[in-house]
């Protein structure tokens, strides 16, 4: 693939190409079928590229070891992108942020002596040869794989990097390294500050922009939020004079956090409007490369998440975590289809503001760009007011825009059968064949389309017609109304769609399919959530219309969770538990980094003589302390203030009744590590586990340490149940265990969810066939439904919950012998979609 670029756009194989990309996290979507489904959905929405972070830690469990097999087989992922004809924007870090633990760096890097992660220390540049050594190793593994693929159109080095004085050395070395390893594609860095940083090193200057990141505020109240985008061409356009400006992360959602508002809320907050405004504003700046972040939601399973986020990484993305297109998906599809209809990859600003709009008012925005490829002009016009606005243009045309809406409207657009002088209604899509074309347009009330230059017009519409001019008003239009205009034996057929119909309208291989809710499986299958008539409009020598009646999806029988079994799961709490295989603390320090223990759970055990009155502890994140097998304290230390992690050192009194009068006393501490920081605002190297511990009076305690919970480290399938039951009398952690069977049906898209909306406990980790797919925590997270990722489902499945109610008042005691009577866990679904081969509809 030949990739060139100039100030306007990329040219791929000598074709100017507007890059419409959306981001996925393959590591949050375990399973090749999920990759195929999600990438197909992005392709169906008109994207021509996909942005992929490659997560170093996901592939490297220890130094020198790399895993690119199974769910980590990125060749399989890249094969799917190639089969779908998607370009790839490759972002292998080393740092990726992405709200993943340690920003995607391997945990083992923390063990390296004197390492400065990312060549940075306290914000200053601090070159680290040991970091570079391992980084070279990562690049030497990932880049040869990327080099096997010809659809890589851009390559990112580092991510959101800066130091106090913006030293260029590290970024320059990464650039040289990538080139020396054979990267041919243009190289960029993603500048989080939007400040032109490192633009003299890279080929393409890229920045990210999130106008709305505080979900407590409604973006509609702050029309100035889009200021960076409004001035991007002016402020950043010259960062690289010979290359296009790239919006490497353009907001299409936002992540929710512990104590957050939930994704239902965030989706409503963004609605369809936000993605419309940001994307069209970007296009108004002449930007021809954008990447919607995120395209698809995902699941932060196992140790993927940073400590800030809970399991669902739905992100209010275009496609939800379980793979259902959301409102913003359909809006993005509408914009992409327009961009596929008219290539806007070379435009120049010719007027703005009051030079275009006579009635310009506050919170409105207008720009007019000359299209160098299509020979027309495009009006970009926006209304951020709470009321609809009527605009009168300098040339006398009028239009109306709804609240918080933005449009891209054609001016003097030559079509095959006529000229579109102006349209206040938006173009949705176009298909063409030789001298014929079909133009799909959106019905937008209080707006008109002005057509001229035709020889004849065929229509039943109430168009105002004169000899050579037709004006069609939105008020006169019904869904699927059409007209045909002919000039010199060339024809343009215009079909008008209402919004609901446009959502269900797809363009595949120059065919228009009206009806499906989604397309999947390499666009070979159409999904319907209920019965509907589907229409296919093909344009060849003639325009042909086929209809097909689709019935409701068959009734689905969801797997039943029956006969749960419940076992005690924390024998480590018991006094005199055998710790002979445990390690002593290194350097008398408790933290996980010093002790090189990176499990979710860390156990500490120590013995002392005599009495203690107080304990002072600082630990991350949730912990319980047991004295002689009895819980004496619990706490969760998950405190963030405006994104910054707050330490909490706690002192508490020890109740004398738990102390043994004679003989040794045994302390056990269990700490749950919810992940490392992602290293955006905080330092990457933030210790976990117990960070400090003291008793008063101070006792000499020889501590031992071990990572992992018994049911996890002894492997689910072999050491369950009876052994555990016999192992302990304590009741602090419980293992709840279900077996269910599930038969996949390739004719239905039916993502499954585990429903914990009605359970009597506060906190549990959920495992599907041994993979931790959810952290349920009633008090801290709005998530009660947990997606069962398709890649982890088998015919016979085990769902296990490790229940840890750290609040003693909630101890999971009552009725524990008969959990089925009160543990109401069930498998649910979002909604099923009947899948029909697309060829049957055409």
């Amino acid at each position: 693939m030949l990739i060139n670029y100039d100030k306007y756009s990329l040219s791929i194989d000598n074709q100017r190409t507007l890059i419409k990309s959306a981001a996925i996290h393959y590591f949050r979507m375990p399973g090749h079928d999920i990759w195929r489904d999600r990438l197909s959905k992005l392709k169906a929405a008109g994207y021509n590229a996909v942005d992929i972070y490659f997560c170093w830690r996901y592939h490297s469990p220890e130094p020198g070891k790399y895993d690119f097999t199974g769910i980590r087989d990125i060749r399989a992922l890249l094969d799917i992108t190639a089969e779908l004809g998607l370009y790839v924007i490759a972002r292998p870090g080393p740092y990726i942020n992405a709200e993943v633990s340690l920003g995607g760096l391997p945990f083992w890097l923390l063990n390296m002596p004197n390492i400065n992660l990312r060549n940075k220390k306290d914000g200053d540049f601090a070159y680290s040869e040991i970091f570079m050594k391992y980084l070279r190793e990562w690049y030497s593994r990932i880049i040869p794989i990327l080099n096997e693929y010809h659809n890589i159109i851009a390559f990112q080095i580092e991510n959101e990097y800066y130091t106090n004085e913006a030293e260029p050395d590290y970024i320059q070395e990464l650039y040289d390294l990538a080139r020396s390893m054979g990267i041919k594609a243009p190289i960029f860095h993603n500048d989080v500050l939007g400040f032109g940083l490192y633009s003299d090193i890279v080929n393409i200057y890229a920045f990210d922009n999130y106008p709305s990141i505080n979900m407590s505020f409604d973006w509609r109240e702050f029309p100035d939020s889009f200021g960076v985008l409004d001035h991007a061409e002016e402020n950043l356009g010259d960062c690289k004079e010979d290359a296009p400006l790239y919006l490497a992360e353009l907001q299409s959602g936002w992540y929710d956090k512990w104590n957050g508002l939930g994704y239902d809320y965030i989706r409503k907050l963004f609605g369809r409007e936000h993605i419309n405004i940001v994307t069209k504003t970007v296009l108004s700046q002449g930007i021809t490369m954008f990447n919607h972040y995120m395209g698809c939601g995902g699941t932060s399973w196992n140790q993927i998440p940073s400590s800030e986020v809970y399991t669902s990484y739905d992100f209010a993305a275009l496609v939800t975590e379980p793979g259902i297109p959301g409102e913003s998906y359909y809006k993005a599809k509408e914009i992409n289809y327009f961009l596929n209809a008219f290539n806007l990859s070379s435009t120049d600003l010719i007027a703005e503001g009051s030079d275009i709009v006579i009635t310009e008012t506050e919170n409105t925005f207008a720009r007019l760009r000359q299209d160098n490829l299509n020979g027309c002009k495009w009006l970009f016009i926006r209304n951020l007011n709470k009321e609809s606005m009527n605009f009168k243009l300098e040339n006398g045309d009028k239009l109306s825009i709804k609240p918080f809406d933005m449009k891209i409207l054609p001016v003097d657009l030559d079509l095959k059968g006529c000229k579109m002088d102006f349209s206040g209604m938006s173009v949705f899509a176009r298909t063409e064949y030789n001298d014929k074309e079909i133009l799909l347009m959106l019905i937008e009330e209080n707006n008109e389309v002005k057509l001229s230059g035709f020889d004849s017009i065929k229509t039943d519409l109430a168009a105002k017609k004169t000899d050579n001019l037709a004006i069609i008003s939105g008020e006169d239009l019904k869904n699927l109304d059409c007209c045909e205009l002919i000039k010199n034996n060339k024809s343009t057929k215009i079909i008008f769609l209402d919004r609901d119909t446009s959502d269900k309208t797809w363009v595949v291989d120059n065919k228009i399919i009206v009806g499906p809710d989604l397309l999947t499986d390499k666009l070979e299958k159409a999904g319907f959530c209920k019965h509907r008539e589907s229409k296919t409009i093909s344009i060849n020598r003639e325009i042909e219309v086929n209809t097909h009646k689709v019935s409701d999806p068959e009734k689905i029988e969801l797997p039943q969770l029956q006969n749960p079994q419940c076992f005690r799961a924390s024998p480590e709490i018991d006094p005199a538990y055998d710790t002979s295989s445990w390690n002593f603390l290194k350097e008398e320090k408790f933290d996980c980094i010093t002790n090189e223990i990176y499990d979710d759970y860390i156990w500490y055990k120590g013995i002392f003589s005599g009495h203690i009155q107080e304990i002072e502890i600082n630990a991350k994140h949730c912990y319980s302390i047991y004295l002689n097998g009895r819980q004496i304290f619990h706490f969760d230390c998950l405190v963030y203030q405006e994104g910054c992690e707050i330490p909490e050192k706690i002192t508490f009194n020890v109740d004398k009744k738990f102390l043994r009068e004679k003989g040794p006393n045994e302390l056990t501490i269990l700490v749950q590590n919810l992940g490392f920081d992602r290293g955006f605002q905080n330092e990457l190297r933030t210790p976990r586990g117990v960070i400090s511990f003291k008793t008063f009076p101070e006792k000499k305690i020889e501590w031992k340490i071990r990572g992992g919970l018994t049911p996890v480290i002894e492997e689910w399938t072999e050491s369950l149940a009876e052994n555990l039951e016999e192992a302990s009398d304590n009741s602090y952690l419980k293992l709840l265990y279900f077996i269910f069977e599930y038969e996949k049906n390739s004719n239905i898209y039916n993502p499954l969810l585990l429903d914990l909306s009605d359970v009597p406990f506060e906190k549990a980790d959920i495992f599907l066939n041994g993979n931790m797919i959810g952290r349920y925590w009633k008090e801290k997270s709005p998530q009660v439904y947990f997606y069962l990722p398709d890649g982890f489902l088998d015919n016979k499945n085990i769902i296990s919950l490790v229940i840890w109610d750290i609040k003693s008042e909630n101890l999971f005691e009552k009725g524990y012998e008969t959990p089925k009577n009160y543990v109401k866990i069930k498998i649910g679904n979002v909604k099923p979609f009947k899948l029909i081969p697309l060829k049957e509809l055409i």
Partner: protein
């Protein structure tokens, strides 16, 4: 707290703007980063002396606001490329030579932000 890198701070602070005035001391900041919504100004520190928001005045587009009136309900909209003048009333803390200034404010989006700069008089 969000601490901005030095190279950005040098550009936010308008070099040469620090001066003694009849009211006290003033200096200028320019928003080069992006649209900001300031929901509070906690304090300004000049050479280790802290001035709280009741004695700080923000002048933007000719309009003056006492910093203690800035809140979530009454935010200060700080547009991209816009200048503000910060006035610390009755401040006598400037000295010949190096002066260290720190502004701690609260941004709607990123929380506490600290802007630390220095200027030689």
């Amino acid at each position: 707290m969000n601490v901005l890198p030095s190279f950005i701070l040098k550009k936010i602070y308008q070099k040469g703007s620090l001066k003694k005035t009849r009211e006290g001391v003033s200096f200028k900041l320019k928003n080069i980063l992006g649209p900001g919504i300031v929901t509070g100004i906690n304090f300004i520190k000049i050479n280790n002396k802290i001035y709280n928001s009741s004695v700080i005045k923000i002048i933007k587009s000719g309009a003056s606001t006492v910093a203690e009136q800035i809140s979530s309900d009454n935010p200060l909209i700080f547009k991209l490329n816009e200048d503000v003048t910060c006035v610390i009333q009755n401040c006598l803390g400037l000295q010949e030579g190096l002066n260290k200034i720190m502004v701690e404010l609260i941004s709607k989006d990123v929380g506490k932000v600290s802007v630390s700069v220095s200027e030689v008089l």
